[in-house]
Symmetry: C3
Subunit: 264 residues, 3 copies
Amino acid sequence: MRAPEGGPDNVGSAGVNNLAHHAADLIERLRVRQPRVHCITNAVAQNFTANVLLAAGAVPSMTIARAEVAAFASRADALLVNLGTFDAERRAAADLAIAEVRAASKPFVLDPVMIDRSPPRAAYARGLLSRGPSAIRMNAAEFAALSGDGSPQAFAEEQQTIVAITGGTDLVTDGVRTLRIANGHPLMARVTAMGCAESALVAAALALQPDPLMAVGAALLMFGIAGDIAGETANGPGTFGVHILDALFNLDPATIVTRAKVSS
Amino acid sequence: MRAPEGGPDNVGSAGVNNLAHHAADLIERLRVRQPRVHCITNAVAQNFTANVLLAAGAVPSMTIARAEVAAFASRADALLVNLGTFDAERRAAADLAIAEVRAASKPFVLDPVMIDRSPPRAAYARGLLSRGPSAIRMNAAEFAALSGDGSPQAFAEEQQTIVAITGGTDLVTDGVRTLRIANGHPLMARVTAMGCAESALVAAALALQPDPLMAVGAALLMFGIAGDIAGETANGPGTFGVHILDALFNLDPATIVTRAKVSS
Amino acid sequence: MRAPEGGPDNVGSAGVNNLAHHAADLIERLRVRQPRVHCITNAVAQNFTANVLLAAGAVPSMTIARAEVAAFASRADALLVNLGTFDAERRAAADLAIAEVRAASKPFVLDPVMIDRSPPRAAYARGLLSRGPSAIRMNAAEFAALSGDGSPQAFAEEQQTIVAITGGTDLVTDGVRTLRIANGHPLMARVTAMGCAESALVAAALALQPDPLMAVGAALLMFGIAGDIAGETANGPGTFGVHILDALFNLDPATIVTRAKVSS
């Protein structure tokens, strides 16, 4: 992976060290607290997303049925709204579920999948900004389609949210503080639903960690380190997709602290 | 896993020994007869469920389209109705498919997924009881939501069905006879759709074995032993989900008889 | 696998040798050109199909939403229309997407899954023939349901398409030239969505190779050889489904040329 770029040190080395310890703490709390994450996500990603949450210690639910999505969202600790396979049923479900979690001040994560390829999906994603997502996880092309030409920091500040842009090096910012995470493996781009599942893990983290920047950063760090470990034993994308679940399940705090590649 | 609990010996050691032999017989008949199982199941579980059926020797079909679900159900040897992601399309499909298999006296299995978390889904599940499911497979929380406060035996007798409650130790009862199966592995709870796929295997078994208690018990025993075997080589939930398919595919009668942990 | 059957030598040994070299060339071009393949496919197959495309170097998209399927199809290099789980949403999406790719003279592949089991699905598949699919991939039972009692060659000529019938030995014909491919492994029939994913690879190949017979043949050959390789290390259908993704990802031109079992 690319080495972390230099940048304005808004977090400082204390903040940087903090992130690894927040992630080490998070993996333990996920297993004890087992937060419920309701996922309105695309059909391609549903199975792998559920398995990533289970491997990390969280409890997924995935229904998109109008008759009951509010019941599930109200019992969940966090919500993921992923815009892949953006059909009428999922939009209706997202509307109901977001209302439920916002009324209860519970976090919701937006994943604007491939909005750079679909103008109607991009317009819908921009509309969801007014519903107050706690965090938005996306790649660089999706960020450009969502935000126009501002910086991640300016966009995070304007929208009062956490912006997470993942890729060779992940960037996480609340507008004031910025963290960069260089963990992860190139095979993550060769297995479908990796980013979608990572967004679900972000939602789980937001349910347990009160500082949203650290929650999002910790989830990305955990997932990136699991990718590093999977990459060491995988023979290709098939075994990689299987081994990353094992790696998440077996991840321990000491490994997170040792392997973290975080900079500000 | 927990050791089998003691209980009223309604089956006796002959019945207990019988179950392992029924399961040993079943695995051979599945491969020869290749029963067709039509599955109306949730989107998260469709792929894994199809792979479990194929690994065991059965032939899955999964369409939920109104225009053709009756055509598929009428050509199937058994039906699974799983209530995860309980949308209008799936409810309509279930209605049509159940009518088809009941008219032909073919078995159908109900899997009332997560009804403890969704009152409308629970109400729908209770409505399906009048349609005469051959068996209901669920966990303890789902059983409580379905039955209120009766015993599994009383509920099975009242509903004239087989009740299968899976967990650390599985319980299977027709109201008169009760079997307990202690095979299985804790990682089964960390891979999504394990229970859903097990219900599909129950449907396949009911297509081939005329004693429905033994059919349901044999399917649960096969799946539990496959889980035991997968647990011996898995490094976590990723490899476990892959290895259980290999274990089912390679399962032989002698292994079933040797490994069975059945009590009454 | 069965040995390739003899047959009229419409291609000749030059054509036969050609296919392996076309496939060797294709795998390299897939990785460089990364064609976009939009897939309207069944829910069971979506995840595995996306992973097969990614492993081979292509870029999948899978939405079936009416509001945006035309936008995705117009940005794709090829289209797959797979008729498994044949619901109203998918039929509407197929209609819009086919119009888009045909207007741009881009290839589309038809996969008439299980039309032998569903008369309405078979009627719909026959209707799609008039929309001019570049290729149709199916098994022998599906071919019989689609074509009645003609030969693959006569049907290909009449419909001006490439007919690919996969099984123990695959047959590919444009009506004049016929190729047979004996690569592949019996476990391919024990993992769901193998044929569906192979059809997506056919679409990717058609985006890059101007001779459609060679495109379809090369895709089938690549997939069959990946199956051969996966079969050498798999312990059953679980590991087979994982290893075939690794094998596709690692496939190199020399291996294709060495392992190809092609005859005319």
